[in-house]
């Protein structure tokens, strides 16, 4: 019999994750473009628009870089939680709460100068997002409650809470009924770094770099970080080695919430300059895709965040140029994640045509 059979690899495939991702991307783009063809859109032109919209030229790259900021911040936290087998899929809700926290700070202390406003805003965003993540963590540790469902429900509740605020008590009386807060004072707006050379790229990027460096130092240079990297993948072994497993889970979840909160704060302040429901576009879910693709390596997270941000920008152009529904982005992301999951099989196994000996 010459049926292919499965053999376990002695060591992981070299350059495996890169190769797997490349194949997965090709498969996903192929399937998605076939769908476009069924829908009566020219698939090759769509691919070209997708590329030029997201990556072709300085304007496109600027857009992509801007979108990758919130995705990057959210994925960092998600990647750390996934590493610990904590399935925190609540970045979307923690992002919403971060935006709410930052807005609360602006509305409560409108007169602060910028040097005080920024730290207060970020602090409030981190606390709000962190607490929103800490509650499911405590529920899991104390009652064994499934964190997948609790964090997901907290997403729905968090987004509705944001809507409740901007449709109600925080609504700008001069907005002609649009659900949004008044525009933030100058001191509460994160500005561009260098408008002349870098265009609209704002100081949120510096926040990303800072957070990435701090997290890298924490993971590589501290005992807790080391424990996280070493014992995270196997909770039982971690407990056996007397690691403070519960503390780690609580810490990791809160950290994820705080980082997603940062992302919400930056989107609110730098991108729309006020709180409005349109900031909720699913960065928290894209972050899950990025986190899984890159595992816990900060540099890969940055790369994949940039790539998926580019796809998002490309899809926006598809929407404008070819009237492709925005949901096309979801199809792409879902397909990429599914094919990467399938492809990772070849990291551990290979097929052989040799018969049984």
């Amino acid at each position: 019999m010459f049926l292919p059979r499965v053999v376990k690899r002695q060591e992981p495939l070299q350059w495996g994750s890169f190769f797997i991702f490349a194949v997965a991307l090709v498969v996903s783009l192929g399937v998605s473009c076939a769908l476009l063809a069924v829908h009566g859109k020219p698939p090759l032109k769509a691919l070209a628009v997708l590329w030029s919209g997201g990556f072709g030229g300085p304007f496109a790259l600027e857009d992509t870089l801007l979108k990758s900021i919130p995705i990057f911040l959210c994925s960092l936290g998600v990647a750390v939680s996934f590493r610990m087998q904590v399935w925190n899929i609540g970045a979307e809700g923690q992002f919403a709460l971060g935006a709410v926290g930052a807005t609360w700070a602006v509305l409560a202390f409108p007169g602060l100068p910028m040097w005080a406003m920024m730290p207060v805003m970020f602090l409030c965003a981190a606390i709000a997002g962190g607490l929103w993540a800490a509650v499911p963590a405590v529920l899991r540790l104390r009652f064994g409650m499934n964190e997948i469902i609790s964090t997901l429900m907290f997403n729905y509740i968090g987004i509705l809470f944001l809507q409740f605020l901007v449709y109600g008590v925080w609504k700008d009386p001069t907005s002609f009924g649009f659900p949004m807060t008044p525009i933030f004072p100058k001191a509460a707006i994160i500005g561009p770094i260098a408008p002349a050379t870098l265009g609209r790229v704002h100081w949120g990027l510096a926040v990303c770099v800072g957070v990435a460096v701090l997290l890298g130092v924490f993971l590589k240079r501290t005992r807790l970080g080391f424990e996280l990297l070493a014992g995270g993948e196997n909770p039982r072994a971690a407990r056996y080695a007397r690691m403070p497993y519960n503390l780690l889970v609580l810490l990791v979840m809160s950290l994820c919430g705080a980082l997603a909160g940062f992302a919400g704060c930056i989107e609110t302040s730098a991108t729309v300059n006020r709180l409005q429901p349109s900031i909720m576009v699913g960065y928290g879910y894209t972050a899950i895709v990025v986190a899984w693709l890159s595992r816990l390596r900060v540099s890969s997270i940055a790369c994949f965040a940039f790539l998926l941000a580019g796809l998002r920008v490309g899809v926006e152009h598809l929407q404008l140029d070819l009237q492709v529904p925005a949901a096309f982005g979801g199809i792409l992301e879902g397909m990429i994640l599914l094919s990467v999951l399938a492809g990772q099989f070849f990291d551990r196994y290979r097929f052989t045509l040799k018969g049984r000996s």
Binding site: R5, V6, L139, M145, Y285, P325, F328, G330, G334, L341
Partner: protein
């Protein structure tokens, strides 16, 4: 019959209607999980079911064609989960999430041209004799065919699991696949069946939304019901009887929420819309605190390694 009683009865009847799609999805996910596979793609399979049910009915004029299409497409989507987890040993949690992202995207993408178009769908009819039972008749026997079909599922589910050989095999694949394999069964093949059946039922739950609960297609019409179903499986300790209770509990809250909104209650709609999600957290908390997770099939979420 005075006003208050009539109102109460109508809310209870609406409870059954709102609970039905959740019941289908919960029983489907329960079936899949009993075979040892965790499929978090319920929300995605449900919305694909809702759309294909609408589309097939729109094209053929026959709602039963819609139901069949919903089941097959929900089941078809679930097979992707099977490919990833059963063939390629992918992580079940992440694969299910990906399936939800993909399903929501697909339904939204394909459904955009049809948003807001109405279709015939199912109409309510009174079951002869049974509908005339006081109180119970009004609550349970003045609905559409899909509701009546859903009444048959929990007892069938129980009979299948507890009294038949394939049911025993399914449970073996979920509790101890190695033992099932040693007994000459193929746990992988059984899990394929578990996954497809779960997807089929999730699709039917979606069909109920677009063909009976409403008679139209709108984006995001499942609005988290698939996730509620995943939570209810845990709440129900993987038993169909408790699933009925859980589904109608949520149906009740949704019916009440709609009724309060219709009566112009002085509460912002965003707060009202939070109710089912907050209730999900509470319900799950209650069952977790009672050690609900221990009732899970022993091999739930664990892949079967390929033989060398």
């Amino acid at each position: 019959m005075d006003m208050d009683t009539a109102l109460l009865l109508s809310i209870l009847a609406a409870t059954v209607q709102s609970g039905t799609p959740i019941l289908y999805a919960t029983l489907g996910e329960m079936f899949t999980e009993r075979s040892g596979v965790l499929n978090l793609g319920v929300e995605g399979m449900m919305i694909v079911g809702a759309f294909t049910a609408f589309l097939a009915t729109h094209l053929t004029g026959n709602p039963w064609a819609g139901v069949l299409a919903a089941g097959l497409c929900g089941g078809g989507l679930s097979l992707l989960h099977g490919v990833v987890c059963l063939i390629f040993q992918g992580n079940q949690v992440v694969s299910g999430l990906a399936l939800t992202i993909l399903g929501l995207g697909l339904a939204d993408f394909l459904g955009t041209p049809y948003v807001g178009i109405t279709t015939t769908g199912f109409q309510a009819f009174a079951v002869p004799v049974l509908a005339d039972i006081p109180v119970l008749g009004t609550i349970f026997f003045r609905h559409d065919a899909l509701v009546y079909l859903s009444y048959l599922l929990p007892p069938l589910f129980w009979l299948f699991m507890a009294r038949t050989r394939p049911g025993l095999a399914l449970r073996a694949a979920g509790e101890h696949p190695a033992a099932a394999s040693a007994a000459g069964l193929s746990p992988v093949r059984i899990r394929w069946c578990g996954i497809f059946t779960g997807g089929f039922l999730a699709g039917l739950g979606g069909a109920y939304l677009s063909l009976a609960y409403t008679h139209l297609w709108t984006n995001n019409m499942t609005s988290g019901r698939g996730w509620i179903a995943v939570a209810l499986v845990i709440f129900a300790f993987w038993r169909p009887g408790r699933a009925v209770f859980g589904a109608y509990l949520f149906g009740g809250v949704m019916a009440l929420q709609l009724r309060l909104q219709a009566m112009g209650a002085n509460l912002p709609s965003s707060l009202m819309l939070m109710l089912p999600y907050a209730l999900t957290v509470l319900v799950l908390l209650a069952s977790s605190a009672r050690g609900g997770g221990r009732a899970a099939p022993a091999a739930l979420g664990v892949n079967i390694e390929p033989e060398e």
